[in-house]
Symmetry: C2
Subunit: 351 residues, 2 copies
DNA sequence: AATCAATAGTAAAACGATTTACGTTGATTG
DNA sequence: CAATCAACGTAAATCGTTTTACTATTGATT
C-alpha cells in the first residue's frame, strides 16, 4: 500500500525530492538543470525520486530567483481584426516551441488601456513584449509606457525610432508580384481597385504597381485606378465605374480580397467571363478567396510568417543582445488560382 | 538636478521604500495592501516614498508567498477559427476588468499539445483555465491532464462530467427565434439549409425549427430541409435544389451566414427579390452579414457574451467555491435587417 | 609523501514580497 | 496604582527555487 499523500495537486517541493533521494536540495537542483559534477549514481537516484513523486518545479519560485519568467506579452489594438488571429498564431507557435508562454492583451486602440496592460505585464516580469496593430496604420510612436530595457518588437506596424525592430508585410513587393503576374498573363491595361488614402499600404502598393508596368514599357494611366475603402461594399461602384470607360481595363488588381469579390461579381453581372475575358487578382489571401467561383488568384499577406518572425526576433533579443533595429518586410507571395489566365510557366516572358 | 538612479527598469524593492520612509518593510506592505493599524502620518510618509521611487511591487515575489498569480489560462483548439477571436475578446475583457491576465495557448486540437500547455500553465501556477473549442464538436471529455483542484470552465463545448461548468450558445432557442420571426413575417413554407450531421448544433437547431412550426399549427415537411456543410460553396446547390421543387419554400432559414450568402445569390440569379418574393434568415451574425445587399437578418451567436460569462464563472470559481456545475446556454438574439419582410411590431401575431 | 586539480556534495544566502508573533507605548479601567 | 487593552511597528519566518561558498574525497603528478 503506497503512502503517497493525497496532495492537493502539487505540494511537493524540491525538498521532498531531496529527502527521498537522500541528498540535498542543491543537488536536486543540479540534476534538474543539467549542471555537471554529480555522480551517475546520485543522478539516477534523484531522477527516480522526481519520477516517483511526479515532481514539477515551481516556475514562480524559479522566476523569483532567476528574474526570467519565460513569458511574453502580446498587446493588440484590435483583437477582433481580420488579420489579428493569424499573426497571433505565429507568435504563439514560436513561443511554445521555445518554451515560452504568451499573455494576450487587448488595448482596443486606447493608449490608457495599453499603458495599464503594460504596467501589469511589467509587474509580472515578462521577458519581452510584442506590440501588434490590428489595423493598417503603419507608423507608430513610442509605447504608452516607458519599458526600461525590456525588449520590444512591433508587428504589423513600424517605427523609425531606434532600438525597436518592426515586422511588416512587403507591400511594395507584393504589388510588384501581383502586377507582374498579370503582365505575364499578357494583359496590357491593368485596372487597380485600391484602399483608402489614409493607409500607407495604399500608396506603397500603387507605387509597386506603377513601377512594374513602367518597367514593362507601359505608361501609367490614372484613369485605370480607383480608390475607396477595403470593404466589399465599396468594390461594386468602383468596378462598374472602371469598366464603363471607353477603353476598359483587360484585368483588375484589387488591393483586398473583399474588393476582388465585389469586382468579380460585377464582372459576372456584365456578362464577362473570368478569366477568359478579364483576369482578377486580389490581395490578402483571406480564407474565402479560395472558395470563390472561380477561386481567386491573390497576393498573400504572410501573417503567420510575420507573427513567427516577430516572435523569433523577440526571443532572440531576450536571449542575446538586441538585434539591429530594423524594419523587416516579409515577402508576399502570389497564390495562383483560377481567376487569372494560366500561363505555361511563370519564367516564360511575354514575348 | 535629481539624483534618481538610472535604474534598469525596476530594481527598487519594498526595502528601498521602507528605508526612504524610515519604517520597516512590514509596514510598507501594510499600507500597500490597506491593512489597518498604521498611523495616518506613517501612511502618508510611505505613500510619498512609493510615489517618489515609482515603486511597483514585484508580482512574482508576491505570488510565491500568496500562491495566487492573478493569471488565467485560455487553451483553444483552433486559434484561427472564425468564432474564436470574439470569445477570446470576451474572456480577456472580464479578466482585465478584474485585474487578471490571460495566457493564450493553441492546442491545434492535439491532445498532446493540450497536455503540454496545461503542464506549463500548472507550473506557472495559474489560478484557473478555460478550455475553448474553436469548432462545434460540443461534447468533450476530461482535460488531457489531471488538474487537481484547479478551476476549469469549458467554452463552446460542454461536458456532462461533474464539477465543470460549460458555456455554449442556446442553439435551440436561436432556431426558435429565427423560425418564429419568419412565421411572424407571414411565411408558411420555411425552407432550411442546414449544416453537416456530425455537428450537434445541426440537430438541435432543426429540432427548434420543427417545434416552432408545429406549435404554429404547420406540419413539418422534410422536403423543405437540406443539409450540407457550413461553407458558402455548399449553399448554391442546396438552395437551387430547394427552390426547384414544385412547391418551393417562401422563405429560407440558413443555419450559417455563409450558407445564407450563397442562398441569397441563388435567389437573385433566379430573378426573385429579397425580401419581397422570399425572405432569408442566417445564423451566426458574422461581420459580413450586415454588408450584404440587402443586409442579412440573422440569429446572432453571442460569442463575446459567452466569453465574458466563461471568464466570470472562472473568476467566481477562483474567488469563492466552485459554482454549481451546469451547462449555461447563452441566448441567441435575432438581428433584424433587410433580408426579411419588416413587420409593424414583433408582438403582433400572424392573424 | 606532499601537492594539486578535479569531482561530489552541502549549508546557507539570496530573490522580494507577506504574515506571524511579539514588543512598545499610552490610555483606560477597576 | 496595577492591570488591561488597543494601536502601532518591527524582526524574523516563510514561500520554493538557484547559486555561492565551502568541505571532503579522490586520483594523478611531482
Amino acid at each position: 500500500m503506497s503512502t503517497k499523500k493525497p496532495s492537493s495537486s502539487s505540494n511537493i517541493t524540491i525538498r521532498d525530492v531531496a529527502q527521498l533521494a537522500g541528498v540535498s536540495p542543491a543537488t536536486v537542483s543540479k540534476v534538474l538543470n543539467g549542471i555537471p559534477y554529480v555522480s551517475p549514481d546520485t543522478h539516477a537516484r534523484v531522477q527516480a525520486a522526481v519520477e516517483q513523486l511526479q515532481f514539477r518545479p515551481n516556475s514562480i519560485a524559479r522566476s523569483l530567483k532567476m528574474s526570467r519568467t519565460s513569458t511574453l506579452g502580446l498587446i493588440t489594438n484590435d483583437l477582433e481584426g481580420v488579420f489579428t488571429m493569424s499573426m497571433m498564431r505565429g507568435v504563439e507557435e514560436v513561443a511554445a516551441e521555445q518554451g515560452f508562454s504568451v499573455f494576450l492583451c487587448n488595448s482596443y486602440g486606447e493608449p490608457e488601456r495599453e499603458r495599464a496592460h503594460l504596467q501589469v505585464l511589467l509587474d509580472k516580469q515578462i521577458d519581452g513584449v510584442i506590440l501588434m496593430n490590428g489595423f493598417r496604420v503603419h507608423e507608430r510612436g513610442a509605447p504608452a509606457l516607458s519599458l526600461g530595457n525590456m525588449p520590444v518588437v512591433y508587428l504589423f506596424q513600424y517605427t523609425r525610432t531606434s532600438g525597436i525592430p518592426s515586422v511588416i508585410p512587403d507591400d511594395f513587393g507584393g504589388a510588384v508580384t501581383g502586377t507582374q503576374h498579370l503582365l505575364d498573363c499578357g494583359h496590357q491595361r491593368i485596372g487597380v481597385i485600391n484602399g483608402p488614402p489614409n493607409y500607407e499600404a495604399t500608396h506603397i502598393r500603387l507605387a509597386g504597381y506603377r513601377q512594374t508596368i513602367e518597367a514593362a514599357g507601359l505608361t501609367f494611366d490614372p484613369a485605370l485606378v480607383r480608390a475607396g475603402k477595403w470593404y466589399e461594399s465599396f468594390g461594386y461602384a468602383l468596378t462598374n465605374d472602371l469598366l464603363s470607360q471607353a477603353e476598359p481595363p483587360d484585368s483588375l488588381f484589387c488591393m483586398s480580397d473583399s474588393l476582388a469579390v465585389a469586382a468579380m461579381s460585377v464582372v459576372r453581372e456584365r456578362g464577362l467571363n473570368i478569366p477568359r475575358d478579364i483576369s482578377v487578382v486580389g490581395f490578402d489571401n483571406r480564407a474565402f478567396a479560395g472558395h470563390q467561383t472561380p477561386p481567386l488568384t491573390t497576393v498573400k499577406l504572410p501573417l503567420v510568417e510575420m507573427g513567427r518572425l516577430a516572435g523569433e526576433l523577440l526571443l532572440q533579443a531576450i536571449k542575446a543582445g538586441k538585434p539591429a533595429d530594423e524594419i523587416y518586410r516579409v515577402p508576399c507571395e502570389l497564390i495562383q488560382r483560377a481567376s487569372t489566365r494560366l500561363m505555361a510557366s511563370p519564367e516564360s516572358g511575354v514575348n
